[in-house]
Symmetry: C2
Subunit: 135 residues, 2 copies
Amino acid sequence: MLNNKVLLKDSCFKITSTRLAILEVFNKNDKPIDANFIYKKLKEGINEVTIYRTLTSFEKSGILRKVDLRKDSVYFELNNDHHHHIVCIKCGIIEDFKENKEIEKLLDQVVEKSTKFKNIKEHSLELFGFCKVCN
Amino acid sequence: MLNNKVLLKDSCFKITSTRLAILEVFNKNDKPIDANFIYKKLKEGINEVTIYRTLTSFEKSGILRKVDLRKDSVYFELNNDHHHHIVCIKCGIIEDFKENKEIEKLLDQVVEKSTKFKNIKEHSLELFGFCKVCN
DNA sequence: TTTTTTGCAAAAGGTTTGCAACACG
DNA sequence: CGTGTTGCAAACCTTTTGCAAAAAA
């Protein structure tokens, strides 16, 4: 995909088939993804170590962001539209919900009141419960 | 501490010196704590495996709750007053902030709009940035 | 005494590191 | 061609599991 090449270039990454393949996995699967998921999708011709290294560098450059899902591995998402998740404790199903002005405003107020911080870079906000099926 | 014995009894745990020691670590250190922190504090006379097992059972029973700090190990806090954290990405310093009515109201609205969930059990809300010293 | 809890050893996952070979630009 | 990237092997770190010994009620 052309966009991914631009994305890599804009972040000063060399364009490699490995990186494009990993980005495609994110494009095609609109949900939080961990290293193992990518590995299972790409299996042939890619090394797990490379996946970990790529995820780390993509996160540092801002292409990806971490998502805290309380699982044993680290999950990432494309750092596009800002949203959060509701996660089923039992079956693991995930529903997204959008970040909104009210949430932003509340968090701004929190930071204003803070003594040790004057601005924040990111935040996690994930809900955990039983979905209607599991409940 | 007497309170901890009551706490254990109320959760139907047998009262053991190991469990009391672990609870004391939480009492004396008012911050999120991981297994290794407890191990370093108690070193003699306690096994790491026991710490993991205790943390897990304390969380299940509601004595502790998990905190998502984006570190490599799992952190816990006493499940007392509901609050969240602002974490410095560089030095790791943590500032607490209280859960409030507005936040609760916003989350209720999120769940109302949800198609797959009708109520949630818990949520994470942690802010990440550089503290005034590191910034 | 009975059931739960703990310790020990070992293994299981996930992730990281060092180094040499490779490939993008 | 030179530097950034990848693969491989090995190590690392956190956490889990099985089983026998120890302790709480």
